[in-house]
């Protein structure tokens, strides 16, 4: 052995000795978790408390019952969760038969599960009695434990109460959704059905209007009543239809560049009769500079008109209503900056129409919003009702009479239409002192764009045309016919598909007004057949239908229709079409 080799060996021995000392030190100071011992049948690990503790804690603290059972079903160990469920301390459960916690009728299931568990594993649902004796649904998972720990079965007990609750809630939720869907469908159909009779009534009323000069005062009064109530009824039906469209997401906005002032004045005109009837004073404040929006004029007018109507309804007679339009800037932080030109209303401000310039201090990153505020001195809204005012069919319990009653959909419409425009509406109120509704809508930021006001063409009187009116509702057909005759046209009517075909061939009309929902041969089929007949190729066809969606218009175009009118079509729309036909023919 060389000198170097001897040195190496001594070094190695020294290291082993150091290791041995270190190991003893570590064990003495409690710095180890476990020992590995070689026994006759192989290696075995003896763990110290530090190593067992995490597992013990895991089992003890878990939110599921964990037990070990003897092969006969006696409890050898129970964790805190199961002990809590049955309302006994863990140590008292040792030696207790698990069957004590199971109702009699569930015993056979338990026996089967236990038997299968002994053989390997099993799972099943069962009920156990809790501390109060109530039956609790649980899910049991049995599994046989390794034999070296003595014959035993592990058992997990999962409380299904919460899960059952969620299942129940989900079930109810589904049922509610279904009921809601049905309600929406019903509303859509109802408003649709209610609309159909309105057209002939409206036409008949216009016919009576032609007799204006020869009416007795009573007839005139009666006609005026019918006219007003018909208008009211139409608005209600329209609202209802609107709600069903909005709730089913079938609203199409026809957005264009519009000025807010036009919207506001239009809405004021609409509500003026109601304001006058209730002797309210309206204080209107609109900025002198135009504010441009990209919006659906009709829908937005509806928003403002509904807010005004609401204010008028809930304010006692001779009350005061403020309608203020201004610009507010929203900073990126969410903070609002108000244009300083805006008038600050007080209760004693005089009734007037005022306009004010808009100046404001805001950061370049701020976004402009037009803000429409409608305030009244009315009954106000109870705090409990305030969060619900925009929900469908919500109405305050009024101390006023129900002469201005409605369906409770006006504010719901306001909210949904505002949101469709990317805006937001808020309500503020003090009971007994009035309410304020604030609508904020995004403004078109580019102020250099020039707006072209829509050109409204005046309608010259039309030349006499041959018109065929087809509608299975005899009243609708006849009232249209009478009105057209009154304007100097020749008119014939038909009430079903085949009759319409025959009349078209016999009569060779210039214009054919065709209801889509016809018996035997529907309007689309009639139109398609007519388009295939060379003798009738110049006929102008007008579809008359309850469906006004873009998709519906497309279908009628494909069927060969030139025009598409949505029921209840007013005579003016039809007159306008007849005028263009006359213009094309000459």
């Amino acid at each position: 052995m060389t000198h170097t080799n001897q040195l190496t060996e001594i070094d190695a021995l020294r290291l082993r000795l150091e290791e041995a000392e270190e190991t003893i030190r570590a064990i003495r100071s409690g710095a180890v978790d476990a020992f590995v011992v070689e026994e006759s049948h192989g290696a075995r690990v003896y763990t110290l408390e530090t190593a067992d503790r995490p597992y013990r804690l895991l089992v003890e603290e878990m939110q599921q019952g964990a037990l070990t059972l003897s092969n006969k079903g006696t409890i050898a160990y129970s964790n805190r969760c199961f002990a809590g469920l049955v309302g006994q301390p863990s140590e008292r459960l040792v030696g207790v038969d698990f069957r004590n916690f199971i109702p009699l009728d569930a015993q056979p299931i338990f026996e089967t599960l236990l038997q299968q568990g002994r053989a390997g594993a099993s799972q099943g649902e069962i009920h156990v009695h809790d501390a109060a004796g109530t039956l609790v649904p649980v899910f049991l998972t049995f599994n046989a434990l390794p034999p070296d720990s003595g014959p035993a079965i592990g058992l997990l007990v999962t409380d299904l109460t919460t899960q059952r609750y969620h299942e129940k809630v989900n079930g109810l939720l589904e049922a509610l959704k279904e009921a809601d869907r049905r309600k929406n469908e019903f509303l859509a159909m109802l408003s649709h059905e209610l609309r159909s009779p309105l057209a002939p009534i409206s036409n008949a009323l216009q016919l009576l209007g032609l007799l204006k000069g020869n009416e007795t005062p009573i007839q005139q009064q009666a006609r005026n009543i019918i006219e007003r109530q018909l208008g009211h009824l139409r608005r209600l039906v329209d609202d209802l239809l609107e709600v069903s469209r909005i709730t089913t997401g079938r609203v199409q906005l026809h957005r264009e560049r519009i000025s807010i002032s036009g919207i506001v004045y239009g809405a004021v005109e609409t509500v003026r009769p109601l304001l006058e009837e209730r002797h309210h004073e309206l204080d209107l404040s609109v900025p002198s500079e135009p504010i441009w929006l990209y919006a659906d004029a009709g829908r937005l007018e509806q928003v403002v008109a509904n807010l005004l109507t609401n204010a008028a309804k809930y304010t006692e007679e001779k009350g005061r209503i403020w309608l203020t339009v201004g610009i507010e800037w929203q900073e990126p932080s969410g903070e609002w900056r108000v244009a300083s030109g805006e008038k600050n209303h007080t209760l004693d401000s005089s009734s007037c129409i005022s306009s004010s310039p808009l100046t404001t201090h805001h950061s370049p990153l701020a976004t402009p919003f037009v803000v429409i505020r409608v305030r009244d001195t009315g009954v106000g809204i109870a705090p409990a009702l305030l969060p619900l005012v925009f929900d469908l069919f919500t109405q305050a319990e009024r101390t006023l009479d129900r002469s201005q009653g409605g369906l409770g959909i006006g504010l719901a419409l306001v909210q949904r239409l505002t949101e469709l425009h990317g805006g937001k509406v808020e309500a503020y109120s003090v009971l007994g002192q009035g309410s304020e509704f604030v609508v904020r809508l995004p403004v078109i930021p580019d102020e250099n764009l020039l707006a072209l006001p829509p050109i409204i063409a005046t309608i010259p009187p039309s030349r006499s045309l041959r018109v065929l009116v087809v509608d299975d509702n005899i009243d609708t057909a006849q009232s249209f016919a009478l009105l057209l005759k009154a304007s100097g046209h020749e008119v014939r009517t038909a009430h079903d598909g085949p009759a319409a075909m025959q009349a078209a061939l016999d009569y060779q009309p210039d214009v054919m007004v065709l209801d889509i929902g016809l018996p035997m041969l529907n309007g689309f089929e009639v139109a398609k057949q007519i388009r295939q007949l060379p003798v009738l190729k110049n006929i102008v066809m007008v579809a008359l239908t309850g469906y006004g969606q873009e998709a519906d218009r497309q279908v009628s175009r494909q069927a060969g229709f030139d025009h598409h009118l949505v029921k209840p079509a007013c005579i003016e729309q039809l007159q306008q079409i007849l005028t263009t036909v006359t213009a094309q023919q000459t």
Partner: protein, 117 residues
């Protein structure tokens, strides 16, 4: 001192300096950490050693963690008596560190990454 001081070495000076520096920059380390399941001592030991290796031996070490619950026989074969134990298989000489492995100084010494004063 050790067989690294071989007189046949072409550069005895270089070998001597390498020895004095404690470890060569290209020595490959093979380490095995024996633990028991999920005790705080095991997790701490692993975290310390992992961090140390990343710091001092990046790219030239293998660290294998063995749970003696799962593989008791491996521990017997490696002559492990108690855990946690860190075994340095390479570079020679083989060394075992038992007990508190969260002490950085102690681990550095045990891995020959620092000369004894």
């Amino acid at each position: 001192m050790t067989d690294e001081l071989n007189p046949t070495d072409s550069s005895t000076t270089a070998a001597f300096e390498k020895l004095m520096a404690g470890t060569a920059a290209d020595d490959r380390y093979v380490l095995r950490l024996y633990i028991t399941g999920m005790t705080p001592r095991s997790t701490e030991a692993f975290a310390t050693i992992k961090a140390l290796c990343e710091q001092r031996l990046q790219g030239r070490y293998e660290l294998e963690v063995i749970d003696i619950y799962q593989h008791p026989q491996l521990a017997i074969d490696e002559q492990i008596i108690a855990v946690p134990t860190l075994v340095k298989l390479l570079p020679a000489p083989l060394r075992r560190l038992v007990g508190d492995l969260s002490n950085v100084e102690r681990v550095l010494l045990g891995l020959d990454l620092r000369r004894k004063s």
